[in-house]
């Protein structure tokens, strides 16, 4: 299931925690980075590997917003609409993105290329409005900037 590099990483992580259960989040991150989402199959595998019940792993996956049980689009746009972004026009950003891609918030395009999500504050309030695509933050957005960014991501 895991690449040798990732197995190595997991062995290194084990030295940093007194229990294997503590590795649930770090290992789920490795799973998601490798496969893009966390299937029930992989959850069972992780449960066996860390010697915790499957239900525990499922409980963790369902608790944390960033763990996905379904694949997202190849490009996952996460737009903050919380207050600091709202005050600086996030509604115009959401409108431009959803219009341009023909998607509602929370939807994935049928070709699996795009997902657009509304997210809570991502700590970019001084450079609002913002969106994240993967780990990359796009800040001080304007609708025109959004056009350029989306064209660049195609």
């Amino acid at each position: 299931m895991f690449s040798p590099e990732n197995l190595n990483k997991i062995e290194e992580l084990k030295k940093r925690y007194p229990t294997t259960q503590a590795l649930v989040l770090p290992v789920l991150w490795i799973v998601q980075e490798e496969f893009g989402y966390i299937s029930q199959e992989t959850m069972k595998y992780v449960a066996g590997m860390l010697n915790v019940p499957f239900g525990h792993v499922l409980g963790v996956v369902t608790f944390y917003t960033m763990f996905h049980q379904q694949p997202t689009g190849k490009r996952h746009l996460e737009v903050c609409t919380n207050v600091s972004c709202y005050l600086r026009g996030s509604q115009d950003i959401v409108k431009r993105i959803t219009d341009k891609l023909g998607l509602e918030l929370g939807e994935t395009s049928s070709d699996q290329q795009w997902t657009v999500s509304e997210v809570e504050c991502m700590g970019s309030c001084g450079t609002a409005p913002m969106m994240a695509v993967g780990e990359e933050y796009f800040e001080d957005l304007t609708p025109e900037k959004v056009d350029k960014i989306l064209d660049g991501l195609k």
Binding site: W29, Y64, V119, E120, C121, G123, C125, G126
Partner: protein, 422 residues
């Protein structure tokens, strides 16, 4: 004031640059002291936690047992998910070694061999930046076995969150490190008695820990002399919303809010009036723009004004702001982030959001204003952790200080239907 948390030094994030400017000297100084002496110095500095609760840091450290058969742990809280807060991110990016040095000194003072720095999952980029700094510090012998031949051993591990505001609550944070759902724990027992894996544990905010090397290096008196006497030191104020120059500004505590807005941030765009500010992140009670004269960015001044310093994330709203939209959006946040453990919070945050949604649509009823207050009052103080309070305070303060905004959104008499609630 010279900037010390985010100094104007080019490439300060690089270990060689940090060392060239006296970096890790405070660690050397601390290792030559008794651990209790280090704690005393922090106590004397009057440093108070920068994560929102303003608890005296040195005093918190003294709660850790001196002798313990069990290992002791330090957790550094970099979950930073409070809307309007974006300061710790600056430390990860521009001064990561200050945080590492502070973590090591705190670990030494309390005898913690392992420190976990908990960082929100969305900060993937900043986790990598901090990890690089940690790797460099390991390579130079500042972290690891027998640090600088002192006999003291300390390790630092970054633990990546996965998108849960509640994990910024200290006991929830510990559960998340243990590989659990991020449910807050009932207190007591408090973390120094029963923390991570049942062992003595202390949790401090990233900015708090970053103040520690400065205190050790320059002395408690120096720190205690900066800014507001009862809540001293440099503080990172993050300003967002309707200002010309939003961003994170380092300043002494106790600077008037109006000076922050008008001098540091270049005022409100278009010269508009300030309708309201939320002074310290979304959980702190909202203040009216016309009542800001003399209110300063420190714990006591903001408390006297009926709010709190929180994380010093100042959100500014001009005269044209739709405050009902603001409070509805905030309530949606708390509804989404409630962990679901306590009924008043799980159910109450949902009801706050649904009722506020009615006002947003202009379908509120006059009695809904009191209903909102009633729901908020029944959440406050009735939950395991402070998220319930944090959800209630903004609604309560909004009604107290801007009742007219709600009254304007009450619908004209018309048929009430069950659908309107949905």
């Amino acid at each position: 004031m010279e900037k010390v948390l985010l100094p104007e030094i080019k490439d300060c994030h690089k270990i060689d640059v940090y060392l060239a400017h006296g970096g890790y000297d405070a660690l050397k100084k601390a290792l030559a002291m008794e651990p209790a002496g280090v704690t005393d110095e922090v106590k004397k500095s009057n440093l108070r936690g920068r994560g929102g609760a303003c608890f005296p840091t040195g005093l918190k450290w003294t709660f850790m047992p001196k002798d313990s058969a069990k290992p002791k742990y330090l957790c550094v809280n970099g979950d930073e998910s409070e809307p309007g807060t974006f300061k710790d991110r600056q430390i990860f990016e521009f001064n990561p070694h200050l945080l590492i040095e502070g973590t090591l000194i705190a670990a030494y003072a309390m005898g913690a061999q392992m420190s976990y720095i908990y960082i929100r999952g969305e900060y993937g980029k900043w986790i990598r930046l901090l990890q690089k700094a940690i790797d460099d510090a390991y390579a130079k012998g500042f972290i690891g076995e027998n640090i600088l031949e002192s006999g003291f051993t300390a390790h630092i591990t970054i633990h990546k969150g996965a998108g849960a505001y509640i994990c910024g609550e200290e006991s929830s944070l510990m559960n998340s490190i243990e590989g659990e759902r991020g449910y807050p724990r009932v207190k007591p027992p408090f973390p120094p008695q029963y923390g991570l894996w049942g062992c003595p544990t202390t949790i401090n905010n990233v900015e708090t820990i970053s103040c520690v090397p400065l205190i050790i290096k320059n002395g408690a008196q120096w720190f205690a002399g900066i800014g507001a006497a009862k809540h001293p030191g440099p503080i990172l104020v993050g300003v967002s919303g309707h200002v010309n120059k939003p961003g994170v500004y380092e300043m002494p505590t106790g600077v008037p809010l109006l000076e922050i807005i008008n001098t540091h941030c270049g005022g409100v765009p278009g010269g508009k009036k300030i309708k309201a500010v939320i002074p310290g992140g979304s959980s702190t009670p909202i203040l009216r723009g016309n009542e800001l004269e003399g209110v300063c960015m420190d714990a006591d001044s903001l408390k006297a004004a009926g709010s709190a310093v929180g994380t010093a994330g100042l959100m500014v709203m001009d005269e044209d702001t739709d405050l009902i939209k603001v409070i509805t959006r905030l309530s949606k946040f708390y509804y989404h982030e409630s962990c679901g453990q306590c009924t008043p919070c799980r159910e109450g945050t949902g009801w706050l959001f649904k009722i506020l949604k009615r006002f947003e649509k202009g379908e509120g009823r006059m009695e809904d204003i009191d209903l909102l207050m009633d729901v908020a009052n029944n959440i406050e103080g009735n939950t395991i952790c402070a998220l319930g309070d944090a959800a209630a305070w903004p609604v309560q303060s909004m009604i107290r200080r801007f009742r007219d905004e709600f009254e304007q959104r009450v619908s004209q008499p018309k048929k009430e239907s069950a659908e309107a609630i949905a």
